[in-house]
Symmetry: C2
Subunit: 202 residues, 2 copies
Amino acid sequence: MGDSVPKFTDERRSEIRRTLLDVGAEQFADRGLEETAIADLTGEAGIATGTFYSFFDSKEELLAAILRREAEHVYADLRVVLKENEDDPETALRQFVRVAGDALVTTPLFRKTISREDRARLVEELPDTDILESHREKRDILVPYIEQWQQAGRITDGDVDTIASGILYIATLALRRDEIGDARYPTVRDCLIDWMVAGLCT
Amino acid sequence: MGDSVPKFTDERRSEIRRTLLDVGAEQFADRGLEETAIADLTGEAGIATGTFYSFFDSKEELLAAILRREAEHVYADLRVVLKENEDDPETALRQFVRVAGDALVTTPLFRKTISREDRARLVEELPDTDILESHREKRDILVPYIEQWQQAGRITDGDVDTIASGILYIATLALRRDEIGDARYPTVRDCLIDWMVAGLCT
């Protein structure tokens, strides 16, 4: 016992890590960071409580890893949407905004765990984390396509970063869903997408 | 002394009230609700501390009155902008978004006092207050013009409330200014306004 850590095969380590990510995602979404004990997580992963720390330094580190994984899934979806529709900017842009926006609505952790308090705590405990800076990542995914479409004369000229910020702003309408109302959200989103296409696509 | 309240003329009451609103706006913007004492406010208004309560029930009530006054100024500006340009929907809409958006940037209380904490406190202490629900008020200002312009064929058809929500979403880009950057904010705002006009104006 004491500080000794069981030796796991690489395969078993990777399996435990994945289980901690899955269980953590579920529990944090249900009860938030504060109310989830490390013992709750390790129990389901079939490891001793102390063994948790050979995988993550803290609950906050686990939450950061969960959010990074969720964000990477969204980025992967966004890359696919743009790649698959690179010859059709209008469809690519419509899909991009829908996928980015709907991720904010449907991803349980974005919706529930990342309460204001947990977000503040995460930033405080992990000052170097970049997982909340998804704006920059999405911008980097988008910009090469904007440049390519501008060069091909398929979308209007204009500062690429400004256009990317405009698209990303529309893609985060979901953050204002409480104010707009759940029922009206999809129609307002589609209205804004129509305006974006009218303004951008030639 | 005791609970007795000095008798003021109506004119003097109205002057004191205005001073409390002005001084309160300044102090709350500088230090927030918590750090401002009632004595700080009454000192500048030239009244005894206890007399404050013959004007407002609490600091929160004063803050609510200040915010209501600031909001009414913005609504008045928005009404003027629409009225003055009712024959030119494009100009009217461009100005509407600029005025509504810039109010969020330049009004000291919106920028500073209304920290997350003060906002939560205000809602808690004054559950019936509607001063934070500016969305509905701005919508009511906008909707008759949208209807009028649709009837005249000057802007596209479509659900009036959806269009109003889209316009108001663009008008609140300023709330995301930290993320976008102060320098880029005006160009992103103008880009979104261009898209709105391209999508709406016929």
